[in-house]
Amino acid sequence: MKRFIGFVTKEFYHIFRDKRSMFILFGMPIAQIMLFGFAITNEINNVNIAILDQSKDSETQKIISKISASPYFKIEQQLTTENQIEAVFKKGSVKAVLVFEKDFSKNLQTRNHSKVQVISDATDPNMANTITNYVHAILQKYIVELNKNNQPINHIQSQTQLYYNPELKSVFTFVPGVMTVILMLVSAMMTSISITREKELGTMEILLVSPLKPIQVIIGKVFPYIFLSIINAVVIVSLGFFVFKMPIEGSLFLLAFESVLFIVTALSLGILISTVSNSQQTAMMISLFGLMLPVIILSGFIFPISSMPLPMQIISNIIPAKWFIIIIKGILLKGVGLNVLWKETLILVGMTAFFIVLSIKKYKIRLE
């Protein structure tokens, strides 16, 4: 046992003496949270649009000033002809052009309806859709104003209640997401690098020949990273809680338990990667280049899984991160317990077991 502790201590020294790596390991999650909290958002703000007013009457002026007053849009240009639209889109200076038809007011008076074309640059479909929806909403409000005196009384209204996140704060999506991505990537990467480095340097054989059992060697190598990842998890959740007022509705104990479980899952994936890597370089490329985008995109972190085509939804099931995000969001934001999350927890346990068994098999094959 003493040998084991000595071994683990050496591993700790290795890690903590590498100042540059330490800086990145701890700085990365903080930087990401800060970015997500202060810089990145899906909301539209001050989007550049242009107006082509073919009427230039009092109605159009009123509507244009409403749009101008909205925080969502910034009127960059007033166009004079339709030919100019293509040019501004090509240049990328505006994302949409609102075209008011000729005789706008007159049509409104005589025919009771007039048209506004919302031409959007749909190379970014999300932006285009959002712009269209928001313009529509502004116009709807204006219509209600117009018809003030003729409001139908038999009117269906709706009262909306937003659950778990009434202020629609994006921190609620990204803190769980950042935590998942960081824990997964760091644990998998660090473990696979650590083991392959010993292989590359040739010191692995020394370890295996020593009185330490192979299982002790692996655990010893992996243990410091559990510790490190837990620190990361605590930092991330704390930042979310203290700086961004993210709630922690559920049990802290369950949170800790599930986090450690996920860390172990990621670590076992790292071990598996190290068994198929012949060098540090390979291990790093597989765990970083091979995992980063899939984890970010297929875990439901940024893109909702329910919107993906069915084959992708099926593939997303093999990504451990997907299940952990469900668990984490459930605990932090909904306050649910194991009775609800037992399925996801079991899946993570199963994946961990699978990785470990596969690693042992591959390791045995290597030895022969």
Partner: protein, 374 residues
């Protein structure tokens, strides 16, 4: 010059001889491109929808039919009470609950307004906002459509309301196909990550193995060594770009309106920037792990602030200014402008200019900071 060729020859030999890395370099990025492009979409679809109908009237059923008919929503179930439905939301099985009050139909007919209760899982704020819009649209649309019917109950008084119709027109991507938007972006990311990771690790690897010391003892000039080392990765980046573009065109049917030659020219300059950054990183690190970590750090920050996943215009001013130093931002913009809108040289010349300058500065710094003598 000849010396550079000797180095290039050695580098290519080493790359192709590394059997473990070859699939990572050539196969992995393309698999990711194929799979991830299908998944990356902000569209909100198949929203798990449930309802509680306390009225069970013709009108309430019609309203629910409207939701059933919508592509956005997937009807999960009807629940006898709101509490039961909320319990399902806790479990994550539904995201929207529509509760129709008792006397819904009666109140509408008797000229009284009536209020529906809508509950939305708002954990994902952006999606929730969009869900809300869709729900409002369906409700408002239904309200509009039953007006003529209700007129007869309206004490014979029908005034036609004024309406302003918004006609959406989506240029360059009529079907709002997300792949058109994401494929070029993801390709950019993959090319960038591959070349940055490989180039930053490469020189540090020689440091770790001791062969860098051997090289430093030779009379080889700094620039010869550096060009020789980076050139293979420059080629690699362009190769992956090519295959990626072919996949984009044939499998994803991404339009390629503009001049492909322009894309290649731009990518060539862009890769110089990325390789310069990789080189710069490798000059200040002692181990491959450190180099990879630092490269990873910058990659994540650059990706998040590239405008690929979230629009740059939505960022606060200070963040937008920071993105001016982000080479990925320019690459993503140019790819989209040229491929999807057919923009030409005049529209992207500013981007090119900036990247040229960037390449010059970063490579200059990298070469200067590479010391043959400590």
């Amino acid at each position: 010059m000849k010396t550079i060729l000797f180095i290039i020859q050695k580098e290519f030999k080493q790359i192709f001889r590394n059997k473990g890395m070859l699939p990572i370099i050539f196969v992995l990025p393309l698999i990711q491109l194929l799979i991830l492009s299908n998944a990356a979409s902000f569209e909100v679809k198949n929203i798990p929808f449930s309802f509680v109908d306390n009225d069970h009237s013709k009108v309430s059923r019609e309203l629910i039919e409207k939701f059933k008919a919508s592509d956005y929503f997937k009807i999960i179930d009807e629940f006898p009470s709101k509490n039961k439905a909320v319990a399902e939301m806790q479990k994550g099985n539904v995201d929207v609950i529509l509760e129709i009050p008792v006397n819904f139909e009666k109140d509408l007919i008797k000229n009284r307004g009536t209020t529906l209760s809508v509950s939305i899982n708002a954990i994902d704020g952006a999606s929730a906002g969009i869900m809300n819009v869709y729900i409002s649209q369906i409700i408002a649309g239904y309200n509009q459509s039953i007006q003529p019917q209700l007129v007869q109950y309206n004490y014979g008084f029908y005034v036609q309301l004024k309406n302003i119709v918004t006609i959406p027109s989506f240029w360059y991507n009529e079907t709002l196909n997300y792949k058109t938007y994401m494929v070029p972006g993801i390709l950019v990311l993959l090319v960038t990550m591959l070349t940055l990771f490989l180039s930053s690790m490469n020189i540090v690897r020689e440091k770790e193995m001791g062969t860098l010391e051997q090289i430093n003892v030779t009379p080889i000039k700094k620039y010869q060594f550096i060009i020789g080392k980076l050139f293979p990765f420059w080629v690699l980046g362009l190769v992956i770009l090519t295959v990626g573009l072919i996949i984009a065109k044939i499998i994803f049917k991404v339009p390629m309106l503009g001049n492909i030659g322009l894309i290649y020219f731009f990518t060539s300059v862009y890769l110089l920037v990325i390789l310069g950054i990789g080189l710069f990183i490798s000059n200040f690190t002692e181990t491959q792990q450190q180099a990879m970590f630092i490269a990873w750090f910058f990659t994540v920050i650059f990706i998040l602030m590239s405008g690929l996943f979230t629009p740059i215009e939505s960022m606060p001013k200070w963040a937008q200014n920071v993105t001016l130093a982000n080479p990925i931002r320019y690459f993503v913009e140019v790819m989209r402008m040229v491929l999807l809108k057919g923009s030409g040289f005049p529209e992207i010349k500013q981007h090119l200019f900036i990247l040229f300058g960037y390449a010059f500065i970063i490579n200059g710094l990298a070469v200067w900071s590479y010391k043959k003598t400590n």
